[in-house]
Symmetry: C2
Subunit: 359 residues, 2 copies
């Protein structure tokens, strides 16, 4: 993997040159990993004429030296942003910073320490732009993370029985993930029963599953640094006609949107495809979030798959497709898969039936 990190830094330096940046201050941990392999949680990464420098505190210096190659590790003195600013004093005059991953207070501290003679340019999205195009190694890793998530859903389905609590099921899911080698869940696992499934981001509670309730499981694993994200909806018992119809609407919307995923199509068009189908079922106003998001080192990345997004899908993109309907007081239904975009095709990474499973 060392060579992947080095070549990413090489591409980044070309982009920096294209924007006339003498130095780049990288302040987002996922970007540190992408560019160097460093997995610490605190620090600042600087690319400038003198090379690549990681400034971090005593908790992470040994680890930083072990995890990276071709990177100078500098021990920070005091808080991280004054240290980074101090270091940047010696860099060229124009510094790129990440307005989306730097607080107002941090930016102020870095600027003060670097001195008044620097020009600061917002370079947010520069590294994220590279990250949207996954290389074959990354895609292989994401296939594994997705397969793991599928196995976890299959196992969890066996535990969906009246009396189990949302929290117990979430605990089992995250335990099985880690037993299977995951670093952990990619996000707080969603297990929502009955009316609670009408909350798209429900946190697991002590609620027990009862007969004739919907069950939404939305989970993902971090495996080899990369995230997966899958949702399936079950019914505990035999689903009534209305639920079946809603499920059918979500399923058709999801399958149509997945089929729309290919290089050159705008993200807005993928979103619109799902909405068109749901509107045909008169469920459009129950779909209260966007259709999906990019996936990779983080669970929410570019591109956003939302209304009106004009960004076009490119080979190497990996996105989720996850329409849903949410009816207050009754429940929610969501189906989500991870889809990779290739030159001439697309590939569903989370290969699992979309049939309504009645348990």
């Amino acid at each position: 993997m060392q060579s992947a990190f080095t070549s990413r830094r090489k591409i980044l330096r070309k982009r920096m040159a294209g924007r006339a940046l003498d130095a780049l201050l990288v302040t987002h941990p996922a970007n540190w990993y992408y560019l160097t392999g460093f997995t610490g949680e605190s620090g600042a990464l600087v690319l400038d004429g003198s090379g690549t420098t990681l400034i971090t505190d005593g908790r992470f210096t040994v680890q930083a030296r072990q995890e990276t190659s071709g990177v100078r590790v500098v021990l920070q003195h005091g808080a991280v942003m004054p240290s980074a600013g101090e270091f940047l004093k010696g860099a060229g005059g124009t510094i790129g910073y990440d307005a989306s991953h730097l607080t107002v207070a941090e930016f102020k501290a870095a600027k003060q320490a670097a001195g008044a003679r620097k020009v600061w340019k917002d370079a947010s999205g520069l590294v994220e732009g590279l990250r949207t195009k996954k290389d074959p190694q990354e895609l292989a890793q994401m296939r594994e993370a997705a397969s793991l998530a599928v196995r976890i859903v299959e196992r969890a389905a066996r535990l969906v029985k009246p009396g189990v609590t949302e929290r117990e099921l979430a605990a089992e899911i995250e335990y099985q993930m880690r037993r299977a080698g995951a670093l952990g869940p990619a996000f707080e696992t969603i297990v929502a029963f009955g009316e609670r499934s009408a909350f798209p981001h429900a946190r697991p509670t002590a609620k027990k599953l009862r007969k004739n309730e919907l069950v939404v499981l939305d989970l993902g694993a971090i495996l080899g640094h990369y995230c997966s994200d899958i949702t399936r909806t079950f019914f505990c018992g035999r689903a009534p006609e209305r639920i079946r119809r809603w499920y059918q609407g979500v399923r058709e919307a999801q399958e149509a949107a997945v089929a729309a995923v290919r290089a050159g199509v705008t993200c807005g068009e993928v979103d619109a495809t799902a909405r068109r189908v749901l509107s045909g079922y008169r469920l459009g106003h129950y779909f209260v979030h966007s259709t999906g998001h990019g996936l990779g080192l983080e669970v929410h990345e570019n591109p956003r798959v939302a209304k009106g997004q004009t960004q076009r899908l490119e080979p190497g993109n990996v996105i989720t497709v996850e329409p849903g309907v949410y009816v207050e007081g009754i429940g929610g239904i969501r189906i989500e898969d991870d889809v990779a975009v290739h030159e001439q095709s697309s590939e569903v990474l989370t290969r699992l039936t979309r049939d309504l499973i009645e348990l």
Copy 2:
């Protein structure tokens, strides 16, 4: 709990008046919960002359209405900061914002939407200042979170056997937490064996425990929204003389620092107490981080217990005390407890032996 949220907002409004703020834009989720009970992950909270308003997207509006009382819930249109800025157009002229929990890009978006006639004042730390003083209900909840962490360490100790991997042990720990009712771990559980224990923030790996290795467990649970944080160090086998001496140094440093915790003492003095003891053991330069941190809704809060901190401890503060020594190539030792500050005394919340346990 509703009345607790309401009274916190009342105190906050007094502080706002003291700083001549017409409105306050609260952008940190832990602060939303503290002030309203809302547990969603995206939105913006505004306190102004018209009342308390939570602006959030369609994933969280139903939940926001259920979780809060005396709070107007407004559906955001588009991204959250333009929505919040748009709402603030109608507020008074001076707006407090949180420079520590607002990115440069978000701040720019909010300012643009609110219009040029507003004065923006950095009010970072205003809510956090209230949060450092836990009320009796909060302390009761933190005692429970701490007791849970203690039980988990006791159980985990039984699983410390040659052949177990760091990752398996971490998975068991987090599983047991959730089975016991925790929302989840308060931070990524640290399980580090042998040389890896020299990394204060080691991530669990596939490394198997071997005889004659140190074992550092650093874990915490979120229970009823509040965090605990405890560390114990074991030895697999019979510890050699050198390890025993290091352990004794860390233990004495930790016990001396815990004994130094009382209302009126500066945080810097608590930190210095630990350092003095370790220096007496000639271990001072192996202690590479600060002695502790505040604990509450978040695992890292104010006050910071670090070198030179002049902030004085107050009744209601809860801090960790966690000195350690880290020797590259050999291993690390850390002992950590959570300590509450009362009027005339202090209270260790994580009541568990500090003897060196050989397993």
